[in-house]
Symmetry: D3
């Protein structure tokens, strides 16, 4: 059985890693869909799809996990086509893993199975929290897999987020 | 004379029905443009263009009205092209019916006639109010034509709206 | 039962009319999808979606047929999303009517029923033949319903096709 | 050396004129990119790209400045492609002039030079302030070059802004 | 009076220059629309919109012509919206100059004036011929204004065209 | 060092497998870009991006190759943005592998390294030849990795191609 997990992974953190590992252990494999793949260089979506794929794959391989498919998924802005869009971009999957009401409803209307993800310490592992800490210069490396930390440094991601957070007093 | 009435019709309610019938009676025919046709499965735009066309046509035919044209109209996101977009999608029309300042201005700059719609009991017939009542499980069937009520039940529209309204505590 | 018939209808001719009437008689209603709705002003697609809807509806109503849905359908350029695109734009349908191998395959993969259309005197009723006759100034009015003929004259369609057919010796 | 200055110029005002003249005097020429070129007829972006190009060029020529390139630039909604988009639409440039943190970061990641614009009396020369005054019927002609004032009158821009600002009490 | 001349200008040659100068002399000014602005790096459209604007402006200024507007125009792929697209991107114009039957028909249906361009030695001044000569290493510099020749050399345009013309025997 | 190899892989065959393995052996890793990712269900592009990713990954894993990145890449239809598009979707790469003159020119203008792929028995390993054999019911399984053969059977790919190849005598 092959579950599909979709997220934005801005960045991929320990909570994601824990969930992905758990799914692979239980079901044998996983498809990880990198959502909003066209977005980058914003405070909410700082990293490109390529950078996110790089992070995730480095973390998975460092953990000796090979049974996963990584698929960038651009937003389509048409809810009625979204499930077909996902299906066309991914290897066959049996069940979608999501806690998002819209995602669950769309898969349900398309006749697909959906399950709620088990989450671990949500309060500690949140993309929003990690981006905030990076901007404020606080400690964040313990919240992400080592490889993710390394990739963010390699691509100068800390400086990027801090630059983007500067207020623009002029162009109003 | 053939007026054009544009709305999102989420859903088509008694106020719309009253206005459409009045226009057909006065002018002989009407073009009904279903706006934001690409939208669906959101709290503001829960129904697809096909579902909305289905509702409207069922209600009109149940009222023995045949002199209408139904045209789904996708958003173009370019105000300067919008009137040409409408013109290319519709049979010839003589006047646009709208209370929206942008719509009125765009038709005016394109040299088209515009008139304000007469409205009946706006406070009772509002798409927003009806969607709210559906979500909260309150009475709403007296605010829409019978056929619209039936279509919304047939397409499982009540459950869709209620599902979409659930708060997503996880994917933040 | 509600069949779906998709065509470009450039223009809607007697063969289309015969088939549409036959489907309504047999199944009680029909959805007519006007394909390549975004196209117009070319030799293959001379008429806008609005003009085509106007023609078809005038011809149907002149024949006292009311049990039909008319839906313009823009090309999506993504075969894998095409059936979902159709579904989102149309009232519920039970079977698609098409002789096109791609269309048949796409509906089949989406788990939808498809049937071949019966055709009447294909050689006489062909959009291509009618467009050719219009351009060459030959007799064509006996190949289309009266209302279609009238609409094409009303919108200056003969001159449009003849203008478009002129060779551009300069802009090469 | 040829600097690139990007703005929305809604409208082009004395602050823009002062900066453009200064850059031409110092560097010999300038490329002026008219951003969000696809936008018009909104309270934030009332003027089309064509109207904005008209204003700017009239003002520059009235000042006997010829050494400038005017380039409308549509939004691309993909930060990662934005610098390439700019480069493909403009003559070669050496440095970008911007105070916007995102713009600065994107040019920097693309290996381009960026400099902060000198600004003059920001509080007096602001597009937002000018649009506000136009809507409220206050004096604004002293904040823009004469030619800009004339163009806005010629295209009926005052009435457009005032119409767009009317509250729509009906279409809620 | 302000005529609008639209072309792809791949590249801008002596025939274009002759026509543009003639229009400015007769009418006082000209709007030059650079069509298919999104295209580049193909055998038919080798130069970017920015490169074409650069060529044209350099040639015009070298001839001391200032009364022109240069506007890149991306293809819209919707004939029914094309005239509105042009209008939104350009300063006001009075007449379109074109020999293209589609362009003429579209402006005519939009109620705009159109006139045929006078052409000079079409056989000698053809973009296709110039691109062919560049690829084949034949003499072409006498067919374009000096500044255009210089710009094509500056942007390494000869090598670009020759590279693009190489047959790809592998990726079939 | 990490090379980037882009192809359409319709389907992924022994020639691709040989080249990918060779690159991984020589350089340690590879990024495989699946081009024209939005295409499917045509004679030239029969398989979806998801199906192609499935084939390639199954073949690579069966060969115990893990050091690869698989990235679907949709066509952008703007040559001037294409390299930035690739860069935004992929992990960092050092060199592009391509024999396509346009691809080579675009990477070269973007300051990237390009190398020609070594090819093995081009005449035997060609996507076009394999698609032709599948349609004609000839032997083709010896031209692709075992896993690719299995995936094509699993997704009913033979019947899809044969269906798509049927001539449409009606819809002309």
């Amino acid at each position: 059985m092959r579950p599909l997990l979709i997220g934005r992974f801005q960045p991929f953190h320990n909570g994601h890693m824990w969930l992905a590992r758990k799914i692979v252990n239980e079901y044998g494999s996983i498809i990880i869909g990198i959502g909003s793949a066209q977005e980058s260089h914003t405070l909410v979506n700082p990293f490109t799809a390529g950078e996110r794929q790089y992070m995730i794959q480095m973390a998975m391989e460092a953990d000796s996990i090979h049974d996963y498919y990584l698929v960038p998924i651009e937003d389509l802005y048409r809810n009625s086509l979204w499930v077909s869009h996902i299906v066309s971009l991914t290897p066959p999957f049996d069940i979608a893993v999501s806690a998002n009401p819209l995602v669950k409803r769309l898969f349900l209307e398309a006749g697909k199975n959906v399950m709620e993800p088990e989450m671990k310490s949500r309060e500690h592992y949140s993309g929003r929290e990690i981006r905030k800490r990076i901007i404020e210069g606080k400690k964040w490396d313990d919240l992400v897999p080592d490889q993710v930390h390394r990739v963010i440094l390699e691509i100068d991601g800390v400086k990027r987020l801090q630059d983007l957070s500067k207020t623009d007093e002029v162009n109003k």
